[in-house]
């Protein structure tokens, strides 16, 4: 059994009293005390200056209805430019009903994913941007021969 830990720390002075969140989790299989044992590995993809949509997580490579985790980070430094991130079958992340949000330069996200539908992104196409992403998998489906 592998052990993968993820810790988030958030600090903010939005309110007059400083706010701090610290939370850690060990990534486990669905409904189990056993840790996740598989991953797609870290991937990076560079997007050019044309608006481009792409599937970054193909659900049919993963077991359905499980406790996968997806980490995505926009490695560019521009706070003006972004990727849409969506949960959608096709690579059209910008205007779909299931658009989750926009990931601007330097931003990251980590979320639980059931593996039932693709994760897609669309760059804004204004500048070159690079995404890094990784799936911590609760079951990878072997490709058919």
């Amino acid at each position: 059994m592998a052990t993968t830990n993820a810790t988030i720390s958030i600090s903010s002075d939005i309110s007059s009293y400083p706010m701090r969140i610290n939370s850690s989790m060990t990534m486990k299989k669905a409904g189990s005390c056993h840790g996740l044992e598989e991953t797609t590995g870290m991937r990076t993809k560079k997007f050019g200056t044309v608006t481009t949509a792409a599937v970054i997580v193909e659900h049919d490579e993963l077991t359905d209805d499980k406790a996968h985790k997806v980490y995505i980070r926009n490695t560019s430094s521009s706070k003006e430019n972004f990727f849409y991130v969506a949960y959608n079958a096709s690579a059209a992340a910008a205007a779909t009903a299931e658009t989750i949000g926009k990931l601007y330069g330097g931003d990251w996200m980590l979320f639980p994913y059931d593996g039932n539908v693709n994760i897609v992104v669309a760059s804004d196409g204004v500048i070159e941007q690079t995404l890094e992403y990784m799936v911590f998998a609760d079951g990878i489906v072997a490709a058919a021969g």
Partner: protein
């Protein structure tokens, strides 16, 4: 200007045999497309009953301006301790993943319209969540009388 910083650390010594994993990310949460920090914060600690889908966070129409272009961030942690318990989370009537006991998630959220609300539903048993919503342009609901 308020400053809200979110950092993540993901580590494992045995997920990928032969190489240790260490991911670190840090983001300062800004208004969409700007280098101005977010200015509003809502936090909560809520018990979630099973059998009902609840909305977490505001509706798009509870924000001023074009909600689709407002950057918001959502942190949710499932405080349950029973490994079989989880909370389905999704957007726009589409469940995206399972937040199991002890897990946390952190996502950007861009509400294109009221239907693109964040939805959560406790499965297996009632659970407690801790959440924080970082935003700008939220407006209070008008009083009933």
């Amino acid at each position: 200007m308020a400053t809200t910083t979110a950092t993540v650390s993901i580590s494992s010594n045995d997920l990928m045999p032969g190489s240790s994993l260490s991911i670190n990310g840090s983001s300062t949460l800004m208004k969409a497309g700007l280098t101005t920090g977010l200015t509003q914060l809502r936090t909560g600690y809520e018990s979630i009953a099973t059998g009902t889908e609840f909305r977490l966070g505001p509706l798009a129409t509870e924000m001023s301006g074009d909600a689709h272009n407002i950057a918001s961030w959502v942190y949710i942690c499932n405080k349950a301790t029973d490994d079989t318990y989880y909370i389905d989370w999704g957007i726009n009537e589409t469940m995206i993943g399972r937040l199991y006991a002890g897990d946390w998630m952190f996502i950007p959220w861009n509400a294109s319209d009221d239907a693109a609300e964040i939805e959560i539903e406790a499965q297996v048993g009632a659970q407690t969540i801790e959440y924080a919503f970082f935003a700008s342009d939220l407006v209070l609901a008008t009083a009933a009388s």
